[in-house]
């Protein structure tokens, strides 16, 4: 699983984007969509910029993302760029 999907806030946004495709695409394709959307947030400049602005409490400019106390069960730190390697 992509590291960004461990963050409930991110996972919720991505799941909402994938939801319309449930019942239209097979499960393997839905997994592909989730993973690829997370990768876009991590490596696509435009998407990453919007992500930083939308979640300023979670993502630092350095690329280290800190998850605040208001997000339960989230990892302490996640990478906003180059995730997964």
């Amino acid at each position: 699983m992509h590291p960004l999907l461990a963050d409930p806030w991110v996972a919720a946004r991505i799941d909402a984007a994938v939801a319309p495709y449930r019942g239209l695409l097979p499960d393997a394709d839905l997994v592909f969509l989730r993973e690829e959307l997370a990768e876009r947030l991590a490596t696509d400049e435009h998407a990453a910029r919007l992500f930083r602005r939308a979640a300023p409490r979670h993502v630092e400019q350095s690329g280290e993302a800190f998850v605040g106390e208001d997000v339960p069960n989230a990892p302490e730190v996640r990478r906003a760029a180059g995730a997964g390697e």
Partner: protein, 226 residues
């Protein structure tokens, strides 16, 4: 990526410190994209072929990089992705990976176009969250459209039949030029640039129409569940 220095870096006369610096900085980016693409496309594509494409793309990227137009990491990542995907589309033996490659191609084309558009997401955190949601919605559609149009086996066509039906319905409601662009490129397999020429529009305008079409289709499909 490759421990050996490329020949143009090894040749002192041809060596350019700036290009060499770009190469060193771009290597980990190319490596990341290569490994990610390897996982996304699976065993249907030769990893050695992908590595070869990635290395060529990295060399091309560092030679043509313009710092005023994009960051090095974005430029290298984009070049490497395009090179790998283009190779998958050309190689018949990679047919099993064609649908995913087409999906990534479609998302990449959308990313390229959106990167050139100034941000207009408002000022509040709520505005930014809304813009992020719309972007994810558009990218999800781009990936789904690519999966449908790149389907190459009977099993893939069957499992994505409902998606194909919903997409064709939504495409039919697009403005004429956007509809023609999407239908001809994704459902009839015509070359994007040739369609633009036949429609009498520039490549950049065609890319803009493509992005508009993808965003409209994303909204249309999302509205089914609202």
């Amino acid at each position: 990526m490759n421990e050996r220095a490329p020949s143009f870096l090894a040749n002192p006369e041809a060596a350019n410190p700036e290009i060499e610096r770009y190469y060193q900085q771009g290597q980990p980016v190319a490596e990341h994209v290569l490994r990610w693409m390897g996982r996304r496309l699976g065993s249907a594509v030769s990893f050695d072929d992908m590595r070869s494409c990635a290395e060529e793309a990295l060399l091309d990227a560092v030679r043509t990089f313009d710092p005023s137009r994009a960051s090095l990491s974005t430029y290298v990542a984009r070049k490497v992705r395009w090179a790998i995907l283009d190779n998958v589309k050309r190689e018949r033996r990679s047919r099993r990976a064609l649908a995913r490659a087409t999906a990534l191609f479609c998302a990449e084309r959308l990313s390229t176009e959106l990167a050139s558009v100034p941000d207009d997401a408002g000022f509040s955190e709520e505005d930014h969250v809304s813009a992020l949601d719309r972007l994810l919605e558009a990218h999800a559609l781009a990936l789904a459209l690519g999966l449908v149009s790149g389907a190459s086996t009977p099993e893939e066509h069957t499992s994505r039949a409902e998606m194909a039906h919903a997409l064709r319905h939504a495409v039919g409601a697009l403005p004429e030029r956007e509809r023609k662009l999407v239908e001809r490129h994704y459902f009839q397999g015509e070359d994007f640039d040739e369609i633009a020429a036949e429609l009498g529009i520039s490549k950049s305008w065609a890319s803009r129409l493509h992005a508009q079409a993808i965003q409209s289709l994303g909204t249309a499909i999302a509205s089914r569940t609202r």
